[in-house]
């Protein structure tokens, strides 16, 4: 599968190891991947295959041992902590598996948190639109402890969208949710791509989730073993089976 436009996020030859000597673990073993604007990409792979490590490195939360990451034209390796923080604040949105929200802030305050941190006022129309989109109009003044898990994750998605970042990274955003809440959150991510032209990279281990994506990247042992269109959940399942089945021959990486 070949995409023509230049990717908004580009990672080249990322390598990362943990530990030393006998116990050394290679989490990333030369990963090169690019993510195009306006698309939803899913990263999958067995547990311990390096999904989170890849996401952390690409999102500027962690530094790879080797390789480069470019986000929206900026090479992150050369940035100091302050610049990197500002890049995260202004150009990147995050949705974590759990604990996305500050308990002392209301839903609305959490949504505009990155803007508040930057000392900027949110555009009121955009904010209203966001809150309506995530369906939390009547909950905007509630605190996280008064919201269900699904609602909390929707607030997190709205927060990620609030600053109109270049890319949103979501690490197993539905990992802690029941199927209905998962559905709502995935729906929301999908709509943000379709309606707002948002770029989203999502790590998941669930084939159904991945079927919402435009593209599927499969990792195994820190290497990309498949990169192509996602297709329906059946297709994803099939891919996964091929990758995780030790007997199956490794399909050539795209």
């Amino acid at each position: 599968m070949v995409v023509v436009s230049t990717p908004i996020v580009q990672a080249d030859d990322l390598r990362k190891t943990y530990g030393r000597g006998e116990t050394v673990v290679t989490a990333l073993d030369g990963v090169t991947v690019g993510f195009q604007a306006g698309a939803l990409a899913a990263i999958m792979g067995p547990s311990g295959s390096g999904k989170s490590t890849l996401m952390h490195c690409v999102a500027g939360l962690d530094r790879p041992d080797h390789g480069t990451v470019t986000i929206d034209g900026v090479e992150t390796g050369s940035l100091d902590d302050k610049r990197l923080t500002e890049l995260r604040r202004d150009r990147i949105g995050f949705v974590f598996q759990a604990f996305n929200l500050l308990p002392v802030l209301t839903a609305e305050e959490n949504i505009v948190l990155p803007l508040t941190i930057a000392g900027r006022k949110p555009d009121p129309d955009w904010l209203e639109h966001l809150i309506a989109t995530v369906g939390l109009g009547d909950r905007r003044d509630h605190r996280p402890s008064e919201l269900s898990g699904g609602q909390q994750q929707r607030v997190a998605v709205a927060r990620a969208l609030a600053s109109r970042p270049a890319v949103i990274f979501a690490d197993e955003p539905t990992g802690n949710l029941d199927s209905r809440s998962s559905e709502e959150v995935l729906e929301l991510l999908r709509r943000s791509v379709d309606e707002f032209g948002q770029t989203v990279v999502m790590v998941t281990h669930d084939a159904h989730s991945a079927s919402y994506a435009d593209r599927l990247v499969l990792l195994k042992d820190g290497r990309i073993v498949h990169d192509g269109p996602a297709g329906g959940s059946e297709a994803v399942h099939e891919r996964l089976r091929q990758v995780t089945d030790p007997d199956a021959p490794n399909p050539p990486a795209a």
Partner: protein, 847 residues
């Protein structure tokens, strides 16, 4: 369980030590004070013992009014000159020698600057024959000729003089230049205890001290013939000297002298122990908070243990063992630190001008017992509630979702109501003590206990105030700092109980500081009012620096002879006994009263009181009832010389604690009661003329205008205030430890929030600012509550004092509150740095 206990203590080693620190400071202060007190107590015993070594019997003027006191000096008491012959004539006495002792001034090399002393005034002693008394010369020799003196080594060093130099000494007359022939010490030591000492021959001493034959010896010492018992000799001497003198064996007199000094300074350990107690009380808050937080953080651990079958008792035992360890550790470290505190206290007191003698450090069993009991009791009391709460955890808690820190806690009603009730009890206790319904030690206990209960009440009530105060303080912080200010406010009020206790620790310290400040301001104003009402003289002569020792007697005459001086009079203080009741004696020279240099307001019939005349006295309205005094009545009064004379009451005058109290007589009448030494001199004249007249012979005096003198007098309150600040500083320090501890624990608890903040773009600086501002809010909360409480306490105590002028030093209080806020921020620097260092990945991975 034992493995678990040890493991968990080791895991939390730093925390355990930090928590113990709260105990350490209190125990160190307490044990340090005890060690210090025991040590100087033994030193004084040794000094007393050495001073009378080989002396069979000591004869001193009878002290008719009990032990010496702060009211006036005791140096102008004296035995008749022929007393020494009578003692010598007693059976069993081999040799009788008299000794003179009186106040003196030693000047530095320049002959103009007195060697200052904030402690007891310098004394002049006449020499004794070799072998009598404990004086040793560490350099040079004893003074033998009329122009020779010896000085104790320490004073000589401070005066900057060496053996062979000339040194100026002054007693009751003009300054004298004498030759320093020796450095003296007592026994094996080099000092005479806290009192700077000058030695001169008997003749020189008598002339410097202006002794007269009827008021001559300070003591007469008798050496016995061999084969006699001291008690027997004492009985024989008693028979010959009559009842104007007290006769004791040398051993008794030494012990007696030691006891007198110890009684005089007994306020010192008491004060130190009070402040140590306050620091310990504040430390208890810190321990309570630390235990509460750590127990809350370990809820899941306890729940898991319970789920796995641990009995409630087992968990309780484990928590109790941890508490005990903290207490033991704190007490042990505190006792060790006490060893360092004791010499530290001595150094501080020496820096203040009083060199207390210390022999080998005395570490008594009592010190150890008290240290451990206090350390353990405080820890146990503070740890009790958190421990009980910990053991009440239900096993299901373990299965709950990851323990997210609560969004916003609610304030339980129970403790607040309890706080209100305790507040009422405390107020009543305090009120009873203040209005004098309970007196003496019980009164003191009521006052202290009442204040303690009020603090406790304020602590229990304060969680309710956390929210509003945080909002109030948060508004400007938000405006200035944006998000960090906003989050700081929320974080401070999310667990009101925790913030309240942290700030309460500060509240106590600050309440006491503000109390002292307001009270001192009131005292200053009261003093100013009292003095202004009484002293009308345009010029006042006092000892340089307002020293407590007063001016030489002959200054009054010298001032009168100064050109342009129309009138002058000495003012002095002593005490008398009237009908068995002790009263202050206030002395004004007749001239001062006659010419209106001092004005006493009459309360019977109005007008200003004049000279009461020889044998006449005024009595202040404050004591008239007690003494049964009425105008026209004659009462019998006994003076410090033991003599009894009739006093004719001329009228009643308005009294005030600081200027005029008890019985008021003129100088001539006072002399018949044994008091001749003036404290200061009131003058009508021009300051520079008076100054010129005194310059040569009395360099240790200062001539001040009325307003300058009043400012100087009231300013002395500030010195005391400074000392109180320093002592309270220790409990503020403990409270700041509390802020560090609570913040560190809270940060650990909120690590994921911090990570999240960083992930979505908060800079390290913003995170740091957030923590610092939270500390500022906590500290300011304590400061505001403390200031309010301190002010109320001062107003309450002041209201019960006669004529107390309450004044509000607004600027000073505002400064103290602001300073506390700053200290809070400084205390938070380390936790804030740690919070800013949190890595995003550690936080989101850290489950």
């Amino acid at each position: 369980m034992r493995v678990l206990l040890l493991r968990s203590l080791r895991e939390r080693f730093r925390r355990t030590v930090m928590t113990s620190l709260a105990v350490v400071i209190g125990v160190a202060l307490i044990s340090g004070t005890l060690i210090f007190t025991d040590t100087i107590s033994r030193s004084f015993d040794e000094i007393g013992e050495v001073s009378y070594r080989g002396v069979a019997v000591a004869v001193t003027p009878a002290v008719p009014l009990g032990t010496p006191s702060s009211e006036g000096s005791d140096d102008d008491r004296g035995l008749r000159r022929d007393a020494v012959d009578r003692v010598a004539g007693a059976r069993g006495v081999r040799l009788a020698v008299g000794q003179l002792e009186g106040r003196a001034i030693v000047y530095r090399r320049d002959g103009r600057t007195p060697v200052g002393s904030n402690g007891p005034p310098t004394r002049l002693l006449s020499t004794l024959p070799p072998g009598v008394g404990g004086v040793r010369y560490t350099a040079g020799r004893a003074p033998a000729a009329d122009d020779e003196v010896a000085i104790d080594a320490d004073t000589a060093e401070r005066a900057g003089v060496r053996v062979g130099d000339r040194v100026s000494v002054q007693g009751e007359g003009p300054r004298r230049r004498l030759r320093l022939v020796g450095l003296a010490g007592l026994g094996d030591g080099t000092t005479f205890g806290p009192r700077p000492t000058v030695l001169a021959t008997q003749a020189t001493a008598a002339s410097i001290l202006r002794r007269t034959p009827d008021r001559y010896w300070s003591q007469v010492l008798a050496l016995s013939a061999s084969g006699t018992r001291d008690e027997q000799v004492a009985a024989d001497v008693r028979r010959v000297v009559g009842d104007g003198a007290t006769v004791r064996t040398g051993e008794d007199q030494g012990a007696r002298q030691a006891k007198e000094i110890k009684d005089r300074i007994s306020f010192l350990p008491t004060i130190l122990l009070v402040f140590a107690g306050i620091a310990t009380f504040v430390g208890a808050f810190l321990i309570f908070n630390t235990f509460t937080i750590t127990m809350a953080q370990r809820q899941r651990e306890f729940a898991l243990l319970r789920a796995l079958g641990a009995a409630r008792g087992q968990i309780r035992a484990m928590v109790a063992a941890e508490t005990t360890t903290v207490g033991l550790l704190g007490a042990t470290l505190g006792l060790l630190a006490g060893f360092g505190v004791a010499p530290g206290l001595r150094a501080v007191i020496k820096a203040l001008g009083v060199d207390l003698p210390t022999t080998a450090t005395v570490f008594s069993g009592r010190t150890i017992v008290v240290g451990f009991v206090v350390g353990m009791a405080v820890t146990a009391a503070a740890g009790l509630l958190p421990a009980r709460r910990a053991t009440r955890v239900a096993p299901v808690e373990a299965l709950r979702d990851a323990a997210a820190p609560p969004g916003r806690g609610r304030v339980p009603r129970g403790p607040v109501l309890a706080g209100l009730a305790i507040g009422v009890v405390g107020s009543v206790a305090l009120a009873l003590a203040l209005v004098g319904s309970v007196e003496g030690d019980t009164g003191t206990a009521f006052a202290g206990g009442g204040a303690g209960l009020l603090f406790l009440a304020a602590t229990l009530i304060s969680p309710v105030l956390v929210g509003p105060v945080a909002r109030m303080l948060g508004r400007p912080l938000r405006r200035i700092f944006g998000l960090p200010g906003r989050l700081a406010q929320d974080n401070a009020s999310r667990q009101p109980g925790r913030t309240a206790i942290t700030s309460s620790a500060l509240m106590i310290g600050l309440a006491l500081v503000v109390f002292a400040t307001v009270f001192a301001a009131g005292l200053r104003e009261t003093l100013r009012g009292d003095i202004e009402r009484v002293v009308a003289a345009p010029v006042v002569v006092q000892a340089s620096g307002g020293s407590f020792s007063g001016v030489p007697t002959s200054v009054v005459g010298a001032v009168r002879r100064a050109p342009g001086v129309t009138s002058a009079g000495g003012v002095g203080f002593s005490r008398v006994a009237v009908g068995g009741r002790r009263a202050s004696l206030t002395i004004f020279d007749a001239e001062a009263l006659r010419t209106g240099l001092v004005r006493l307001q009459r309360t019977d019939g109005g007008g200003t009181a004049g000279d009461p005349g020889p044998g006449g006295a005024y009595v202040t309205d404050t004591v008239a009832g007690d003494l049964g005094a009425r105008a026209g009545r004659t009462v019998l009064a006994r003076g410090t010389n033991g003599e009894q004379h009739p006093l004719r009451i001329v009228g009643i005058v308005k009294g005030s604690a600081s200027a005029v109290s008890g019985v008021v007589v003129n100088g001539a009448t006072a002399a018949t009661f044994g008091t001749t030494q003036p404290f200061f001199v009131v003058v009508d004249g021009r300051p520079d003329a008076v100054r010129r007249a005194l310059a040569r012979d009395y360099p240790a005096t200062e001539v001040l205008t009325r307003s300058a003198w009043i400012t100087d007098q009231t300013g002395q309150v500030n010195q005391l205030l400074g000392l109180v600040y320093a002592l309270l500083g220790l409990s503020v320090l403990v409270a700041l430890f509390g802020i560090v501890n609570t913040l560190s624990l809270s940060i650990q608890e909120r690590i994921r929030e911090l990570g999240l903040l960083r992930a979505v773009g908060a800079t390290r600086a913003q995170v740091r600012r957030m923590v610092l501002l939270e500390a500022a809010i906590t500290a300011l909360l304590g400061a505001l509550l403390g200031a309010a409480l301190g002010f109320v306490l001062a107003a309450a105590v002041g209201a019960t004092l006669d004529g107390f002028a309450l004044s509000i030093p607004v600027g000073q209080i505002a400064l103290l509150v602001a300073l506390t806020g700053v200290l809070g921020v400084v205390a938070a620097i380390r936790p804030a740095r740690r919070a800013a260092r949190v890595e995003v990945l550690d936080a989101i991975a850290g489950e």
